[in-house]
């Protein structure tokens, strides 16, 4: 007989096996309760993150305009000499 046939027969027998009887309902509901409490604790954090994002976008908006007036300090060194004609 083929080994696979033996294994298939083992599997057919194993299907009749009765696993242990357990009741997880109370434990599951308890865990769900804890996880839900943890989730509600995250709400102020989400608010905080939202406010931070708004503040960051305002700063970015302002800095974008400020960027146009930023000059290269190296170029600034030569600004006074621009008016002096070399010839």
């Amino acid at each position: 007989m083929d080994a696979i046939k033996i294994i298939e027969r083992l599997a057919k027998t194993a299907q009749k096996e009765k696993p242990p009887q357990i009741d997880v309902s109370k434990a599951v509901m308890f865990e769900i309760g804890i996880l839900q409490q943890e989730t509600t604790g995250f709400v102020p954090f989400e608010w905080f993150a939202g406010i931070s994002a708004v503040a960051a976008s305002i700063v970015m908006f302002l800095s974008f305009y400020a960027w146009r007036y930023i000059a290269d300090p190296f170029v600034q060194l030569f600004v006074p000499f621009q008016e002096i004609l070399p010839w």
Partner: protein, 211 residues
């Protein structure tokens, strides 16, 4: 979430004949899912009590350690609770639960695979010494569990679902989100590996009384 639409779609599934309609259990599922989505946790407890036996049975194929088995069943129901909104009622609730359970069990195997833990095959030697004509289901389960535990986890999953749960290629593919061709190929390769392994371990000789 539109509870009315969930209710209607759950009922529609059973009317279309995806599951054998027995007039009470499925309606209870439908009512309990609707109640649970409205915040009634007692309804979810009823769902757990209704299906924990089937889920325990499935998880027993992933771990034969009672404490790990209990943990897996618990994790399955906790995950299902937080994913309940995503249940589209395209199949009976038990099918959806089994999908979550299978993936939970597969995750455990992935973790165990990192540690490269192998189950002993001593049970086969014990079974070999038995003179009775029929092997006990528990013993058969242990032997098969230990044998399949030596395969790659994906191969192991395919054969576990095929042998223990009588799942078809299509069902395995749907449960794991794999293609049917991939599952078919894997099943074929896994059987080949299993045959080689059985020959190496001389299982045929040890269990020849079963022939």
């Amino acid at each position: 979430m539109g509870n009315r639409s969930v209710n209607a779609s759950v009922e529609a599934v059973y009317k279309q004949g995806f599951a054998t309609y027995n007039g009470s259990v499925e309606n209870s599922d439908c009512n309990d899912i609707r109640a649970c989505l409205s915040g009634d946790n007692a309804a979810y407890e009823r769902l757990i009590l209704r299906y924990q036996e089937q889920i325990t049975r499935l998880m027993w194929r992933f771990s034969r350690d009672s404490s790990i088995n209990e943990r897996l069943v618990q994790d399955t129901f906790v995950e299902a609770y937080f994913s309940l909104k995503s249940y589209k009622a395209k199949a009976p609730f038990l099918h959806w639960l089994k999908k979550i359970a299978t993936r939970t069990g597969y995750r455990l195997w992935k973790e165990q695979d990192k540690e490269k833990r192998f189950l002993p095959l001593e049970d086969i030697d014990i079974a070999a010494k038995e003179t009775q004509q029929e092997i006990e289901p528990e013993k058969a389960g242990e032997i098969l569990h230990a044998l399949l535990g030596r395969l790659d986890i994906a191969d192991r999953l395919v054969l576990t679902l095929m042998y223990f749960e009588d799942c078809t290629i299509k069902e395995i593919a749907e449960r794991m989100g794999w293609t049917r061709a991939a599952v078919k190929m894997r099943a074929m390769r896994a059987r080949k590996k299993l045959r080689k392994m059985a020959e190496r371990e001389k299982i045929l000789e040890k269990l020849e009384w079963m022939q």
